[in-house]
């Protein structure tokens, strides 16, 4: 059953089709939610809220684009709302320049596994993490990010630059740790 047939069946409220849609997209979408949150529990909460919205607004899916991309946008929006709503994220989501980090424009070769890279992204401060995900992974422009988060475009740009620099530092460190000769440097 292709995506269009699946959507048509879901719109008829067929439980089997609804389950199939979930099975098809829950895994990758949990990956999306995981990148935006700090724990798997929070990621699953976002996934759950997101899928409820997916079923509720499925009739608005026009079929012009990929279903996966449409669901992904819902998950991202749900994740952003989740971050704004929950107190534990709010203090870090102020997008202030309290934690300044060195800026780097280097483009290192990313040879980490997807999960390792996701772990590093999640270690970024929430503001950095969010903007990095929106720009580097989802491909939103800084203007769009500014509108989505209610911040100035320039703020988004500078936060992204800092997040990127920080991440590159961590990736380089991680890659060095993976090399056999790096054990001596890390004291092992």
């Amino acid at each position: 059953m292709d995506d269009h047939q699946l959507v048509a069946e879901c719109l008829k409220h067929r439980p089997a089709a609804q389950r199939m849609l979930y099975d098809r997209f829950a895994g990758p979408m949990l990956g999306v939610c995981y990148r935006y949150t700090k724990s798997m529990g929070d990621a699953e909460d976002v996934l759950q809220e997101g899928f409820v919205k997916v079923y509720r607004y499925l009739s608005q899916y026009k079929g012009s684009g990929e279903l996966g991309a449409w669901i992904r946008r819902i998950m991202v929006t749900t994740a952003l709302n989740y971050l704004k709503k929950h107190v534990r994220y709010q203090s870090e989501l102020a997008f202030e320049s309290d934690h300044l980090h060195p800026v780097s424009t280097d483009d290192p070769q990313v040879s980490l596994q997807a999960k390792e890279l996701a772990e590093l992204i999640r270690q970024l401060p929430v503001g950095y993490q969010t903007i990095f995900n929106l720009h580097a992974v989802e491909g939103y422009t800084h203007v769009e990010i500014g509108q989505m988060l209610g911040i100035h475009e320039g703020t988004s740009r500078s936060q992204y630059a800092r997040a990127r620099a920080l991440l590159i530092t961590w990736i380089e460190k991680k890659m060095l740790d993976h090399k056999p000769g790096s054990y001596a440097r890390s004291g092992i």
Partner: protein
């Protein structure tokens, strides 16, 4: 910046990122996507019901206040005229005419009627079978004039109205007298206004009589085999014959009827002396028994996610599974009493309803297993029902009726080829009517 190698590399890596959610996530999602829909539908249903009952009630009351009253007045007037006609057609009525003529000639409103006049009254349709005390009451009422000094009893004065209301029994008695008798005894010219007032009050009293009803029914129900093949993928076409025990592949399903139960609250109203209408809200449970074998757990995989599914062996017979269909409906019925002297009425109507919960086994094609599916059949249903009601007990404030019933759902259980199975039930029920 986005064109840079780092961003592309990160984007590519993140596309690969995938995790398996824990099972409770889907359970929560499923619960949430089902619940609001149910809630919305229940709210819509109640709103529809409320509007429907409101409109029906307004129309009913409007008709009761206009058309029905007028029709009843006409009927009453005809009935009033009929006894006198009957009297004049008989030989002995000649004597009655003589008495009436003599009475009319007597210009004395307070005059006591003679025994002969009683006899004439007994010959009439309305007097027949009445005791002499009833007759005395009528006469006493006719001589009400001295109790209301300076008041014309045949005018529509407030004094008369209040007196009529206080003397309700006499009031009814006088209204049942033949018109000719009434005027001749009173020796006055006919006053249609009084008759109208009297009749309207009586008819209005009858028409506005409402009764609350609690209704319980128990019996057997059949659900056909549709519950077995609600999913589009199931191969019901292999069995085009409508049977309760269809063959699925090499599986002979053994399906029998199960208990039926319904309970409801209705509001009943008199439309005429023999016809009543009722509307209300009812819950009904239809069941169907399916012989099954052992229950087994199998693991189904989809997109690298594994989950357990409960299946029932179709070839077995060690156990049984009950398909259940729970329906909330709005029963609308008309009740006709064919013979006045027999407290038996015939009832028929419709009960549009919604299957709020229904679960049934479905056959998994190419296997020997059934799987439980919720919901199994289409939810909007239109049953027609008919039955008999016999009054087994009554007091001034309540009546107890009982009798058989049968119902058949016009709507099929599923909208697919060969799915000509319908829910049906029959049994016995009781009704407690509180006036």
């Amino acid at each position: 910046m986005h064109d840079q190698e780092f961003e592309r590399s990160v984007q590519q890596k993140m596309q690969e990122l995938s995790f398996t959610p824990s099972p409770p996530v889907w359970e929560e999602v499923e619960a949430k996507i089902r619940a609001p829909r149910k809630k919305r539908r229940i709210v819509l249903w109640l709103a529809f019901l409320g509007v429907g009952m409101g409109v029906t009630g307004v129309l009913w009351l409007y008709n009761a206040g206009n058309t029905s009253v007028n029709e009843s007045l006409n009927t009453r007037q005809k009935e009033i005229n009929r006894p006198a006609d009957a009297i004049t057609s008989k030989k002995e009525s000649n004597r009655a005419n003589q008495i009436e003529t003599s009475a009319a000639k007597t210009n004395d409103p307070g005059r006591q009627p003679s025994n002969q006049e009683f006899q004439v009254g007994e010959n009439s349709k309305y007097m027949r079978g009445k005791s002499s005390s009833d007759l005395s009451n009528k006469i006493a009422f006719l001589n009400i004039e001295p109790a209301i000094p300076n008041t014309d009893i045949f005018s529509e004065s407030a004094g008369l109205e209040s007196t009529i209301e206080k003397n309700d029994k006499s009031f009814e008695a006088i209204s049942s007298l033949p018109a000719e008798r009434f005027y001749s005894i009173g020796n006055r010219q006919p006053d249609s206004a009084l008759f109208k007032t009297v009749a309207i009050k009586k008819v209005e009293k009858q028409l506005t009589r409402l009764a609350w009803i609690v209704q319980l029914r128990y019996g057997r129900s059949w659900a056909g085999a549709d519950g077995m093949q609600g999913a589009a993928s199931l191969n019901f076409a292999a069995d085009p014959s409508p049977s309760n025990n269809p063959v699925f592949g090499n599986v002979q399903a053994n399906i029998t009827g199960g208990p039926f139960l319904s309970a409801g609250v209705l509001l009943k109203k008199n439309i005429s002396s023999r016809l009543k209408g009722s509307a209300g809200l009812q819950y009904a449970l239809y069941t169907q028994k399916v012989a099954v074998g052992r229950k087994v757990l199998v693991s189904a995989s989809s997109n690298a996610n594994f989950r357990a599914i409960e299946l029932y062996e179709a070839n077995g017979g060690q156990g049984s599974y009950h398909n259940k269909f729970q329906m909330i409906s709005v029963p609308l019925a008309l009740e006709l009493k064919p013979v006045r002297s027999i407290p038996l009425s015939v009832q028929a109507g419709v009960a549009p309803g919604y299957l709020v919960r229904n679960k049934a086994l479905q056959y998994l094609p190419g296997t020997t297993y059934f799987r439980e599916v919720v919901p199994a059949v289409q939810r909007w249903q239109l049953p027609v029902h008919a039955g008999l009601q016999y009054r087994i007990g009554a007091t001034k404030n309540w009546e107890l009726l009982a009798g058989p019933f049968a119902s058949y759902h016009i709507t099929p259980m599923a909208n697919r080829k060969y799915n000509d199975r319908h829910l049906a039930s029959f049994g016995a029920g009781i009704q407690l009517q509180v006036k």
